[in-house]
Point group: C2
Chain length 459, copies 2
């Protein structure tokens, strides 16, 4: 059995920043570390080339009637900038107390090593464990997984033979309470570009003559929400999945404190979809958000121009069963209809991701045809978490997006069991990223028990 | 008599960019060139120190009953960037056909040399010309004349003894038609800064929970105009001076072509104050304009943040008799009242300028107490322009702002006769600035005749 903490240190030392071409060595090192580790555990490892960074597909094959889990993770990390804000070197793992610091410690190197360690322990105890395991470890997650859809299509048949996906790339609200994430928001993103005159104009000579594209943009953006905060686009809410009473109940058990949340955000009042608490709104309702805006003179002092151009970056977070393409069309149509004469409109399409939902077994809205192995996996996870952490997990939809989860579902039909291990203080995508070693230890034991229970149910 | 074109070339060779500290030599060279030239013409020259660039005060004194004209100009120029767009070197004067190219050729070096040459010719023909002349040539016009108000206060008594101000720092609509500018818009400028959460937030985890400052900014800005294009701020139009029928008639004589104007701007529809043509709207009506906007992520691709901050740069062009401070207060009050809960609002005050109007003699609304010398100056200018250019000038208010004109009026009581010499093709503040040498020649002769006529009326 390898030492998980030493392996995690080696892994963090590889600067595997997928978006930085200067990190080719680190990407290769990280990939080889994971591939090599899985090979020593007896996995048949395939390193699948893509246009950018390869995907590791490592299989432990078995009998046709064994349950089959796909364990997802990623070996790439976010850039470490700004380096001057790090208290310890970003790519030199440093243990302080019960935490290990370094870029990727929590996203996703720590949780990935946790799950590999759990597999290693389970196989060490029982080399004949009746469980098929496929590791699917990509190197482009922090770039938006551009090669993943093509890979999925190509390997769909092999993946479709599995029963479900297991991953640790979501959040743990605090050290005591595990969440099994049962839903993710999707998203659709695009930019709006407006043009008025063919160049910037002197606001004295020409002011009062023509439409200013900043004014037009402000009027269009202002029209996209009602006064009470709903999205003011016809049809926007048509597909929105109802919130089941058990979901609201489950959320209440989280015991989140509105005052503490407002303080964390630095705001004195919330602004939510009417009828939803802040915690409900982020999980159960879609948004239309403005991520950026620009136009005209933005420097020091003044420049008395009527700008030629202005733009905004829009994104919608979508809940099941909204369709990104359909929502984008509705919003674009509304913007087009509200663009005044004298202003030219262009859209720049950005990326998108489907929302995702899975209902754990035994809920009022659990699908009748739910995969029995998936249901067993949820039950095994519930028991293991209750035993190891001392209280049962909560089943919650999250506000964030992991588009590949819906993509895997769409292409292979597989649902996901998302066992979150990041704590709020882990500083994902930020300086001083860290991972809690007690969480790592408990996570390893939890995943080990889930795997053993799944196999035992079979045997 | 000096050679005006050679002197203009020398002047252009001095890179007198007042905002660029690397141009100290050029500023000094330009100042010394003008001071020296006026000294050789017999003027008593004082170089008045300011915090930045000195003001040249050059006087030709005379008998108490002689008329007294103050000729205004400036020896500083705009920066020449972007240099790569210049077809000839920015600070190496180049004559092509009847045009001289170089930074400052039109703004304001060419027109200033034109007026100095006219003085030189008049004094050469009659060294005893019964006319007091004060040249007032500043070096900070392109910076917004920061030292000018303090200078005015200090020299108010000496300036107050004059009869009127004469300057050539306004526009000529085409080579055939001179305009004597009778009004200028004022302005007030400030920035609006909004803050939501204390930092940028992940739009997945927190989207749907709080107000986005870009949305708040869009809603506030959108509220500042009515659907038909008027400024939607209570009291905004209260002080607006009525347009006299003669002003509309005068404007018609300009024969400006709306289709050609739309084509020049690159727009397919105008957007004016209701009831005003585009040409009227820019001259006779105030505006509230958005010069810049910014917030959140503006780079390539996407970043799914809810930004903490957003800002906009606002300016109002004001017509007589709107007061900049009063209008700014009205607009700020409206913005404050329209800022939603959960958003912090801050203003950054920028500069301002009063609007200005002077009514030429013989109009229905000419003030009864108009200075007789001012009235004579207008009549002399009308005759000289008619003789030299073959048609009388038009008397028009302009949309632009020259704040020092109102400031001079406020402090000294002096009105201005504005004899414009810039053509639309002169590219002021842009690459390939040039000045028409035929305009220079006709301008010199016109100003000479005005000065001689004023003196003759006295004699």
């Amino acid at each position: 059995m390898f030492d998980p903490i030493e392996k995690l240190k080696e892994f963090i030392r590889q600067p595997s920043v997928s978006t930085d071409s200067r990190c080719a060595e680190g990407m290769k090192g990280a990939q080889e570390l994971v591939s090599g580790l899985l090979a020593t555990l007896g996995f048949s490892v395939e390193v699948v080339k893509t246009e950018r960074h390869p995907i590791i597909l490592a299989e432990r094959r078995g009998e046709p009637d064994w349950p089959h889990v796909v364990i997802y993770g990623h070996y790439d990390v976010q850039p470490a900038d700004p380096l001057n804000l790090w208290k310890t070197p970003a790519f030199e793992p440093t243990i302080i107390g019960n935490r290990i610091y370094g870029r990727g410690a929590a996203d996703n190197k720590g949780p990935l090593i946790t799950n590999i360690a759990a597999v290693a322990l389970a196989l060490e105890a029982n080399p004949k464990l009746p469980l098929k395991i496929t590791f699917l470890i990509e190197g482009e997650e922090e770039m938006g997984s551009p090669s993943f859809p093509q890979f999925l299509e190509r390997y769909a048949d092999r993946l479709r033979a599995a029963d479900f996906v297991f991953l640790s790339d979501t959040a743990l609200p605090n050290e005591q309470q595990v969440v099994l994430t049962c839903g993710l928001r999707g998203l659709t993103l695009f930019d709006v570009h407006l043009t008025g005159a063919k160049g910037d104009l002197h606001s004295g000579l020409h002011g009062g003559v023509l439409r200013n594209p900043i004014q037009a943009l402000a009027e269009i953006l202002a029209s996209l929400h009602t006064a009470d905060g709903r999205v003011n686009v016809p049809g926007f809410y048509d597909g929105v999945l109802d919130v089941h009473p058990w979901e609201r109940e489950e959320l209440k058990k989280l015991g989140a404190d509105e005052a503490a949340y407002a303080d964390f955000l630095g705001i004195d009042t919330f602004y939510t979809t009417p009828g939803f608490s802040p915690f409900e709104s982020a999980r159960f309702q879609p948004t239309l958000e403005f991520n950026g805006i620009g136009g005209g003179y933005q420097g020091e002092g003044t420049k008395t121009v009527i700008p030629s151009k202005a733009f905004a970056k829009l994104s919608c977070r979508l809940v099941p069963n909204q369709q990104p393409d359909c929502i984008k069309q509705l919003v674009m149509d509304a913007i087009r209809a509200r663009t005044p004469k004298g202003i030219k409109l262009e859209f720049v399409d950005q990326h998108k991701g489907e929302p995702y939902v899975v209902v754990p077994p035994g809920r009022s809205n659990t699908p009748a045809n739910q995969s029995p192995v998936l249901a067993r996996a949820f039950r095994a996870a519930d028991s293991a978490i209750t035993e190891v952490w001392g209280r049962p997990p909560l089943y919650l939809r999250e506000g964030g997006s992991v588009p590949i989860i819906a993509e895997i579902k769409r292409v292979t039909g597989l649902d996901s069991v998302m066992f979150g291990l990041f704590l709020p203080e882990d500083n994902l995508h930020a300086p001083n990223e860290g991972f809690n070693l007690d969480v790592m230890k408990k996570g390893t034991e939890t995943t080990r028990r889930i795997l053993v229970a799944l196999a035992a149910a079979q045997g």
